[in-house]
Symmetry: C2
Subunit: 193 residues, 2 copies
């Protein structure tokens, strides 16, 4: 909308401060679609786990769920396959300058431990929205932090030292396979801080 | 309920004819739980994909979904990891003596093709409920049937010849990892027909 004096008023969700406020889930979903379309990997976000209590069968093909509840997830949000390897990760955003470990359910940590034990690639993708930094944290480093530290939050300094920065790109938005290439397939790491 | 003359009337769903009427999904869920508890594999059924339209936030932690719709699944129902390999499959029951290919969505067939292309292990588990026979059909054999045959159903004879019978067991109920051991890890196949 144009105001007198040429001032352009944007709606709140249209204000652009670099990447601030961009949604990590949307970025990851578009990234996974890109990987799928370009035949790089097959990785999906799992549907939200729910318990259905009541369904209306409007017709044979058109059923409407009338009552359902959200379940606590027992696994992570994303899994799939890349270069023959099983991939499994959880993604979280935080506005803080540290990542509260309680944002990951205990079930999910145990799940990642099993994945790593069975030879899969497990990790977290954590976005610090106000700092505009997104990191790939190996599940093994998460376990080590939990075991060796008493802190309930992982400070940004730990991410900057131990984790791998994922630079924003236009397409794919959040190119985490670059990090997997570096860690497991002899690829180069271009985004050193 | 006891009737005169000692006749015991069972409810319909309690009648036991061998395995007839046992639910494949229940068997597979208990099998995957067994694999998880015994640390053999990490395989889960994915939640039903839905689109949520309306949620009532009764309190901060207790939200109730008041309207949602079922989506067409774009992937298969089960995936996970076994001995470092990515596992992906769809399970179906039929009362017929042949398996109608339309019971598997085209999306799911394309998904299995991608999985195999990326080095994963893809397959179907098909139970013929009235014959009380459950088979492991390699995704590659499914693709071959679809390409080379004009038939819209895969006859039981094809399963008996090409697929691998999974014998019922007490625990785990539907031990499909035995077939994967045979096909990919040099295990023995004990259930030859």
């Amino acid at each position: 909308m144009k105001y007198p004096g040429g001032v352009v008023k944007l709606k709140n969700n249209n204000i652009i401060y670099g990447n601030r406020g961009m949604n990590l889930e949307a970025d990851l979903n578009s990234t996974c679609s890109y990987y799928l379309e370009t035949n790089k990997a097959v990785i999906y976000k799992k549907p939200t786990p729910i318990t259905i209590n009541k369904v209306d069968y409007v017709s044979r093909v058109d059923a409407v769920i009338k009552e359902a509840h959200f379940n606590t997830p027992s696994t992570t949000d994303y899994n799939g396959i890349y270069k023959g390897k099983y991939i499994d990760f959880e993604a979280k955003e935080t506005k803080l300058n540290s990542f509260p470990i309680r944002n990951i359910h205990l079930h999910q940590i145990k799940h990642l431990q099993k994945i790593v034990m069975h030879g899969g690639i497990g990790f977290l993708i954590i976005r610090f929205t106000l700092l505009n930094e997104t990191y790939y944290l190996k599940a093994e480093d998460l376990f080590e932090f939990i075991e060796s530290e008493k802190r309930v939050s992982i400070p940004i300094s730990y991410f900057r030292e131990k984790a791998f920065l994922i630079k924003d790109k236009y397409n794919p938005r959040c190119d985490f396979l670059k990090i997997i290439d570096y860690l497991y397939f002899g690829g180069k790491y271009e985004w050193k801080t």
